[in-house]
Every structure is written in structure tokens, then in C-alpha cells.
């Protein structure tokens, strides 16, 4: 597997700013040269985004865990009536955000939720309207491509119309989740009831055309092949070439606990996590930011990921629900001080940003 000449060829492409091919990407996954990968990814990171590491002081708002998609990799979704099933009222959401707003640095909300079987689009829209009105200072990032497609399905409106209404209500950014692996083979097996690969990409494309920035993600470490990971990265890269509307890319290692795949699949190793981040940085040459999502990676791995191509460490979160249902061992929130220390210990400069990556404060 290990071919020195191949490594040198890829290295020289990267150093000369040339794009890596699909074959290069597949080779990188096969080569097992972790620190070499890290060094190359770190070079690219430095060139594209310098030494700042972005984080945001944010609050996750998961409106409901009642979901009709019930994807196999999810430990968060419930049927209504199940133990632990909940659906927030608008007052519940306001209360949560009021509590999080006690932190004067809170700059944004991250709203993602289950596909509730009886809620209408207007129900979801109302949360955005009210939260925006009550907390105009807070940047609202909300809904994944999967939720947007769902809103179109249940309302009879087009994706574009949905996005226009959400934007008018105060939504500024679309969340990056729900991409999973953008191939129909995977989606038909794991999440047949939610947006297809093309639909997910089309939501992002439409949002970008409307001037709404979005994020992108990849859920890996389940039943996908390494070639499918590369395929996924290339599909994102192509759309980014077309629109330039993706802000950050997030690698989600699959957490099997409490999911339908728990008995079949072992959790990824940090080896796999770090190489996937590094390869993503190398393949996604047109993305500005690569996120090390500490909730899934754990804090120690996320910190090390900062030298494997990541320049974004997500946020304080306030209270994480979705992945803690899947047995995440990281804390449910981090204090801003802790995030700053993690970044500084890695020799980098912490910068608080809003959900559109506008720098609010650089912590010298």
C-alpha cells in the first residue's frame, strides 16, 4: 500500500496549491501516514486561515426529539409517546435562551430538531420569529438541509419559498448536519425517510443563491466505504466551486451507542478521526474552515485536531442533547475560559465568532 513516490506526488501538489483528485483522496485514506497527513493539512490550514482558531459562545436549541424519520444512526429521535419524548413550547424555548443569555458573550443559537410528525412548517417558523424578536442580538443558525426539505414536503412550498420565509423571520444561517454520506446507497440503508443526497445538496445550493450561508458535514465510521467518504467530499467540493456558500466543514464520527447499529459497529478510533479531518482539509481546498467538533471527538482529540487541519472548535453549546443520547462522554457544555485554554495550549489564537464567522473578539 505504501508508495513513497505517490506520497511525494501528492505532497508536491499540495505545496503548489494544486487540487487533489479522487484517486489522491483514496490513496490518502489508504496510506496510514498519519503525521505526514497532519503536517500537510496543517500547512494548508496555515495558508488558508492563519493562526486564529474560531469558537462561538452559543446555545443549542433542540425543539423536539419526536421524529418520523427514525434513522438507524440516531439515538436522539423518539416516537411520540416514547419515554423521554419531548416537544418544546415557544415558552420553553424562550426560557432556555433566557437562561443561556445570562452569559453576556452569548452570540448565537443553533436550532436543530426532529421531524415532528404533526408539527406544521408554521410551527417551526414561529420559533424563529419569536426568538428573533425576543433576542434580536442573537444570530440564529437553524435547521439542516434535511429539515428544510421536510418543511417543503409538509407545506407544499418549494425549498426556495421555505428559505425565504425563514430568512424573513430572522434565520441567518443553515446548519450543516444531515449530510451524513451523500450517496444513495448509504442513505437508502441508513436514513431512507429523509432528504436524498441530491435534495440535501439542492437545499444548500438554493440557500447559497439566496445569500444564506450554510455549513456542511460528514457522518463517517458506520457502513460507508473509504471511497464513499472521498465521493462525499468531492460532491461538497463541486457544489462549493459552484456557489462558494459553505462556511465550515464538520466531521462527525458516528457514535453507535443507543442506536440501531450499536451491536454491529464499533466507534471510530482517534486515528481514524484525525486522518479524516486532515484528508478533509486537503480535499476541501475551497472551504475556508474545518471544524473539530469537540462533543463528538472529545476535548483531547479536538485539541490535537487543531494540528491536523482544523481551525474551528465549535462553541460552548450550553447544553448538548443529541450526541449525549448516543453516549458521548464529553461534557454537555464548555465554559468559554476552557475553550480559550484549549486553543492557547495548542499555540493558537482564540477568536470568538458569530455563526457567519464574523470575528467578534480576538482573545490576545
Amino acid at each position: 500500500m505504501f508508495v513513497r513516490g505517490e506520497l511525494e506526488k501528492i505532497e508536491s501538489k499540495v505545496l503548489n496549491g494544486k487540487r487533489l483528485s479522487r484517486e489522491d483522496g483514496e490513496f490518502l485514506f489508504a496510506c496510514n501516514e498519519l503525521s505526514w497527513l497532519g503536517t500537510l493539512a496543517d500547512y494548508v490550514r496555515k495558508k488558508i486561515c492563519g493562526d486564529l482558531v474560531y469558537y462561538n459562545v452559543n446555545c443549542h436549541v433542540n425543539l423536539t426529539n419526536i421524529c418520523k424519520a427514525r434513522c438507524k444512526f440516531c439515538a436522539f429521535g423518539r416516537d411520540s409517546g416514547d419515554k423521554g419524548a419531548y416537544a418544546m413550547t415557544i415558552d420553553d424555548a424562550i426560557k432556555l435562551v433566557e437562561e443561556a443569555s445570562l452569559d453576556p458573550h452569548l452570540s448565537g443559537l443553533h436550532i436543530v430538531s426532529g421531524l415532528h410528525p404533526t408539527w406544521t412548517f408554521e410551527n417551526y417558523l414561529a420559533f424563529v420569529e419569536v426568538l428573533h424578536e425576543k433576542f434580536p442580538r442573537l444570530h440564529i443558525k437553524g435547521f439542516t438541509g434535511v429539515e428544510i426539505q421536510h418543511f417543503a414536503n409538509i407545506s407544499g412550498l418549494s425549498v426556495e419559498e421555505i428559505l425565504i420565509k425563514l430568512k424573513a423571520a430572522g434565520l441567518e444561517t443553515i446548519a450543516g448536519g444531515g449530510a451524513e454520506i451523500l450517496t444513495d446507497r448509504i442513505r437508502n440503508t441508513l436514513c431512507p425517510k429523509k432528504a436524498t443526497a441530491d435534495q440535501w445538496l439542492d437545499v444548500a445550493r438554493t440557500a447559497h443563491k439566496l445569500g444564506i450561508k450554510t455549513n456542511a458535514s460528514m457522518l463517517y465510521g458506520h457502513i460507508e466505504t473509504l471511497a464513499e467518504r472521498v465521493e462525499h467530499l468531492i460532491r461538497l467540493r463541486e457544489l462549493q466551486d459552484e456557489t462558494g456558500g459553505f462556511q465550515t466543514f464538520i466531521c462527525f464520527p458516528f457514535l453507535p451507542k443507543n442506536t440501531a447499529l450499536e451491536k454491529k459497529i464499533n466507534q471510530t478510533s482517534m486515528w481514524d478521526d484525525l486522518r479524516t479531518i486532515a484528508i478533509s482539509r486537503l480535499m476541501l481546498d475551497n472551504f475556508q474552515n474545518i471544524k473539530a467538533y469537540w462533543v463528538m471527538l472529545t476535548v483531547p482529540v479536538a485539541q490535537v485536531a487543531l494540528s491536523f487541519g482544523a481551525n474551528d472548535i465549535d462553541g460552548t453549546i450550553h447544553r448538548e442533547n443529541i450526541l449525549h443520547d448516543a453516549g458521548a462522554t464529553s461534557p454537555r457544555s464548555l465554559a468559554e475560559d476552557e475553550i480559550i485554554k484549549i486553543i492557547r495550549d495548542a499555540g493558537r489564537v482564540p477568536a470568538a465568532v458569530d455563526s457567519n464567522f464574523n470575528v467578534r473578539r480576538i482573545i490576545k
Partner: protein, 359 residues
């Protein structure tokens, strides 16, 4: 430029001096250090990663040293206090036939005399005659010398006769008397620690070495510590493996007094790689997964470590200080972690010989 000189030395395999080590620390290029350390590791032990099927025995946690750095020790009468007697040790070893190494480290019990420890070793040797017995840190050896009135050399000879095959590497902490006065004032001094090791090596007893970092020590003190170990190794060549212990502050007086936090994974990997580059005369570096957690220990294999230590049965000391890792691990898990990095798992005995039945 000191830094470029240091890098030149690294690429040509020359020894680093104090200023160069400090410059590399300051430079903070984690992947450079890691990649360089990995090359050094591969030049010494190739693609092999060692592990051992071992068992820890902590004879007692009752301790007269009462070090501020420790969460394990307690006073007799405390409801956590325990002291194993010989039949307890026998019970622990009932199902240990497959074990290749027994590791015995304990606190400094205020009443037990030297023969208690010697008898424990003899018993292990009797039950498992072929097993390596890696036992007692220099701190304990100094204590044995004090309570028995015997010299280090006499104490060590008696232990060798009883069955000890190598000395444990703990208790070094930071070999600076300024630091020891604060973190472990009643433990042996730096020079005593080194003298026990020197004596052991001269008697043909191999030992490990260690450093505990991330508390109140300065970076200069860490570097001086490494240089002291390197100097002694030049003299005796008796150290087998180096271990790095990040300080776990939870439940310790030291943590409370100085409001200390556990250093991050960045610092752990950086210190591992840097130490590998400094200790050019050491063959083996352990990634002690109990302290690092398994994910970081796996990554440590590409930052200079070549030994994942063992499938430890029951670890008490570090878990008393809040370590998050599980207390035991299977051979399959260890081998999987190693193979995944492109390395070859090798089950070792106490002296880094491969255990043939596993190949």
C-alpha cells in the same frame, strides 16, 4: 539560530543540549516533534509496538509520606485504608497464570517492616515462578533502607534474591529539590532517587524511569529532569523504558492548593515527543494508557512511544486521582489499536523479549 541548529541535530541524530531542548519546546510545533520522535522510535524498535499481559498489585495505601501530589494514600483508620496480607496476595494471583509481569508498587506503610515486602515478593515468585516481577520505586527502596537500617545495595540484593527482576520507575516526579519540597516533601530526594537507580543498575537490575509533569514545575525543571536521566543512562545503561505521567490534580492537596488543572492532550503529546528526542539513549517509551486515555495513547504511538504497557487487572493509584480510562483492557483491544496504526503488536515479557507463543 538555536532552533535551526536543534532541527539540524535532530535530522542528523546528534544529541540536543539544554538550550536547544528549550527552543524546541518554545517553538511548539507539535507535528514536527511528533514526526521526529516517530523516526527515532522506528530507528530503535522498527514497526514493533510492545504490550504485556500484566497485573498490578498495590499492597497498601496507608502511607506516612502524605505527599500533596497524591490522591491514593491515606491514614490507617481511614475508611478507604487497606493493607493486603499474604493470603490476599495469593487470592489476587489465583487466576493469573497467563500473566507475564507482576507490577508491585505501594505506599510507605508506617508500621510494616521490610520483611513484609520481601515476603510478598517471595510469595509471588512461588506462585508464578516464571513471571517477571517489576516492583518498588526508588522511593520505596529508600524507605526500606531507612526502616531496616540496611544500605540501598543490601536492600536491593535481598529483593533480587526474593524474586524482583526489575525496579519500577515511579517516584521520580521532577528531580528538583525545589519542586519536591512542595509536591512531596517527605519522599526521597532527587539524588537519593538517582542513587538507588545507579545502585540497581550496577547490580544488574534493570529499571524504568519516569517524569510527572503539569503541576508546579517550570519547563526548565522538566528539561533538567530529562538531562539527569540521560546522564545516568550514559553512565549505567540500566533504564529500560521511560514513562511520562501528566499530573492528575483531582482529589489531591496539591491540586487544591495551587488550583491546578490537568494539562491537555497537546501538552501530553508534545512532552512525549520531546522526551523521546532528548533521551536518545533510551530504547523504550511507554504510552501509559491509564493516564493518557486510550485514544491519546493510540496517537502517542506516532509520537515516539513503542509500548502500550499492559492489560492491567486492577489499577488503583491513578484512578483515585480521577483518571477517566477503564481499569482493564483486553489483548484484542490493544492489538487492534496497534494494528490500526500500521504497527505490529508484540507481546513482551518484562525485558522486552517477545513472547513467542503469540507470534
Amino acid at each position: 539560530m538555536i532552533l535551526s541548529k536543534a532541527k539540524k541535530k535532530i535530522s542528523s541524530g546528534q544529541r540536543l543540549n539544554r538550550d536547544e531542548i528549550l527552543a524546541l519546546y518554545e517553538d511548539n510545533d507539535l507535528l514536527y516533534l511528533g514526526e521526529s520522535a516517530r523516526r527515532v522510535k522506528e530507528s530503535k524498535t522498527g514497526k514493533k509496538i510492545f504490550y504485556t499481559v500484566n497485573r498490578h498489585i498495590n499492597l497498601t495505601n496507608v502511607c506516612k509520606a502524605n505527599c500533596p501530589l497524591c490522591a491514593y494514600q491515606c491514614q490507617s483508620g481511614d475508611n478507604r485504608a487497606f493493607t493486603l496480607e499474604l493470603d490476599d496476595v495469593e487470592k489476587i494471583l489465583q487466576d493469573a497464570a497467563h500473566v507475564k509481569e507482576i507490577h508491585i508498587v505501594s505506599s510507605l506503610h508506617p508500621e510494616k517492616n521490610f520483611s513484609y515486602y520481601v515476603d510478598a515478593v517471595k510469595l509471588v515468585k512461588k506462585i508464578l515462578p516464571h513471571v517477571g516481577i517489576n516492583a518498588f520505586t526508588p522511593v520505596e527502596i529508600v524507605n526500606f533502607s531507612k526502616i531496616s537500617g540496611k544500605s540501598f545495595s543490601q536492600v536491593l540484593r535481598e529483593l533480587i534474591a526474593a524474586g524482583v527482576t526489575s525496579l519500577a520507575g515511579g517516584g521520580a516526579e521532577i528531580l528538583s529539590d525545589r519542586v519536591r519540597e512542595i509536591i512531596c516533601p517527605k519522599k526521597c530526594s532527587s539524588s537519593e532517587w538517582l542513587e538507588v537507580m545507579r545502585t540497581a543498575h550496577k547490580l544488574g537490575l534493570k529499571t524504568n524511569a519516569s517524569m510527572m509533569y503539569g503541576h508546579i514545575e517550570t519547563i526548565e525543571e522538566r528539561v533538567d529532569h530529562l538531562i539527569k536521566l540521560r546522564d545516568l543512562q550514559d553512565e549505567t545503561d540500566g533504564f529500560q523504558a521511560m514513562m511520562l505521567f501528566p499530573f492528575h490534580p483531582e482529589n489531591t492537596q496539591l491540586g487544591k492548593n495551587f488550583n491546578l488543572q490537568r494539562v491537555g492532550s497537546w501538552e501530553d503529546l508534545k512532552m512525549l515527543a520531546l522526551s523521546r528526542l532528548v533521551l536518545d539513549n533510551f530504547n523504550h517509551f511507554k504510552a501509559f494508557w491509564i493516564m493518557l486515555t486510550l485514544p491519546i495513547a493510540q496517537l502517542a504511538l506516532s509520537f515516539g512511544a513503542d509500548d502500550l504497557d499492559g492489560t492491567i487487572g486492577e489499577e488503583k493509584i491513578i484512578h483515585a486521582a480521577g483518571a477517566k480510562s477503564s481499569t482493564g483492557i483486553s489483548r484484542e483491544t490493544l492489538e487492534k489499536i496497534i494494528s490500526e496504526c500500521g504497527y505490529q503488536p508484540v507481546e513482551r515479557d518484562s525485558f522486552y523479549n517477545s513472547v513467542m507463543e503469540n507470534i
